[in-house]
């Protein structure tokens, strides 16, 4: 199993992000906001629970009919985008 961890900066920021049902994400410390789709919301919520990359991949694999490798690749790409959004407020 892949034990890749969420980047430290994100792991600090993720727990404080407020996500609405519409996918609007707000960082109450930096004031930054952005929006994500339903899948993005699901991913952020998993990461907020402190799941590792492999654990999050396994959870998503239950709901999405894709190979684990594809889910993991997409997850990594999403984390990169998320980091860009979060970094914009740092």
């Amino acid at each position: 199993m892949n034990a890749t961890k969420i980047p430290p900066l994100l792991s600090d920021t993720l727990p404080r992000l407020a996500i609405s049902e519409s996918g609007f994400v707000f960082d109450p410390v930096t004031g930054h906001s952005f929006s994500v789709n339903e899948t993005g919301m699901a991913v952020i919520r998993l990461l907020q629970q402190g799941l590792s990359l492999s654990e999050a991949t396994a959870e998503l694999h239950k709901d999405y009919l894709e190979k684990s490798e594809v889910i993991e690749r997409d997850l990594l790409e999403f984390i990169g985008l998320l980091r860009e959004q979060v970094d914009a407020g740092i």
Binding site: V29, G31, S33
Partner: protein, 360 residues
């Protein structure tokens, strides 16, 4: 919270040009919209077209003051006249340029029964823009280099002396222009010197996102009811047109250290910018409430109301609740006023609710 009796509060800064509004209308609005406040508001302006003078939903009476250039005696005489018509309990000056006069008059106003919550002259001096770096050190916050200049020739070779463009050219009280080359800098220097006098200030430009904190210093080193905001949209003058409330412990700690260091008394606004490395840089400390103070009411920390408690030596509420993610968006609207009301302001220097603004 303690119940406040029904004070008569005089507030200056009733100007409200959209690109750079004064804070007075927003301060009055905070009080009028507080469930606790049952008092009277007197709006004090310097121009018959200051819109706050006519906003009867927030201001019960409006009066003109002499311009600060007329001197403190003229200001005191005018305040005494107004005080005879409508006895003032508390005075909240809201404009940087008038603060020195109000600080010097504070004792005389107090002897008339008019309370103020203001810093002393030394505290006021310490937050002067040209001394900001020293104060920033106290607060443990970075501060871009700043220099007072009186000669336009500075820009001829400033880049060779560590002052590379872009720079920010600022007035001692108001106005700031980001300039990218010598000609632009010279033009900004002339504009500012003409309007605000000398010295003109030059500050190193920092690219980043702007954040503001407003609060009250209680005079004993404690920071009361801090409210933090990220600017989301700016006017041409760089003022916040939209913003959102935030809570950042790092910014708050800097403000706590700053107020503790100089035992600031009165309202203040701390303007900072977060640079590309995530470091806060102190840009200015304003000795008054900001024009966006109405947000404090929206986040459950009504600062003007807290100021009344301090002025009346009452215990200040703890304000344990605070809302992040509250957005403000400013807008401009027109007031329709009979010419007779405007005539009263021009000819008598006052507007009272006895002549309804909405009466057409």
């Amino acid at each position: 919270m303690n119940n406040i009796r029904q004070p008569c509060v005089a507030i200056t800064g009733m100007n409200a040009k959209p690109e750079n509004p004064g804070p007075g209308v927003a301060v009055a609005r905070c009080l009028k919209e507080s469930a606790e406040f049952c008092g009277q508001i007197i709006g004090l302006g310097y121009d018959a077209l200051d819109p706050g003078l006519y906003m009867e939903q927030f201001v019960d009476e409006g009066y003109l003051l002499p311009y600060p250039s007329a001197g403190e005696d003229a200001l005191l005489r005018r305040l005494e006249e107004i005080h005879k018509i409508s006895p003032i309990d508390i005075m909240i000056p809201c404009l940087d340029a008038e603060l020195p006069s109000f600080i010097r008059l504070a004792h005389k106003l107090n002897s008339l029964g008019i309370k103020t919550v203001l810093p002393d002259a030394e505290q006021f001096r310490l937050r002067n823009k040209d001394l900001l770096r020293e104060l920033a050190e106290h607060a443990g916050i970075e501060c871009p280099g700043i220099k007072s200049i009186s000669n336009i020739g500075f820009f001829n070779d400033c880049d060779k002396r560590g002052w590379e463009f872009p720079l920010v050219v600022k007035g001692i009280f108001y106005d700031a222009y980001v300039v990218h080359h010598k000609d632009e800098a010279s033009s900004a220097f002339r504009k500012i010197a003409e309007q605000w006098g000398y010295p003109v200030l030059v500050q190193k430009f920092v690219k980043g996102e702007e954040y503001n904190l407003t609060a009250i210093g209680d005079g004993n080193g404690q920071l009361v009811a801090p409210v933090m905001m990220k600017k989301m949209a700016l006017t041409d003058k760089g003022k916040a047109w939209a913003g959102v409330s935030i809570y950042d412990q790092e910014l708050l700690n800097a403000a706590i250290r700053l107020v503790a260091a100089i035992k600031w008394r009165g309202p203040l606004e701390m303007e900072v910018i977060k640079d590309g490395t995530g470091q806060y840089q102190l840009l200015e400390i304003n000795p008054r409430f900001p024009a966006w103070i109405y947000l404090s009411h929206g986040v459950l920390r009504n600062l003007p109301l807290a100021l009344l408690h301090i002025a009346m030596n009452e215990s200040v509420p703890t304000f344990s609740d605070y809302r992040t993610g509250m957005l403000f968006i400013r807008y401009a609207e027109e007031l329709v006023v009979p010419i007779s009301v405007f005539e009263d302001v021009v000819m008598q220097g006052s507007r009272s609710n006895s002549k309804e603004v909405s009466e057409l």
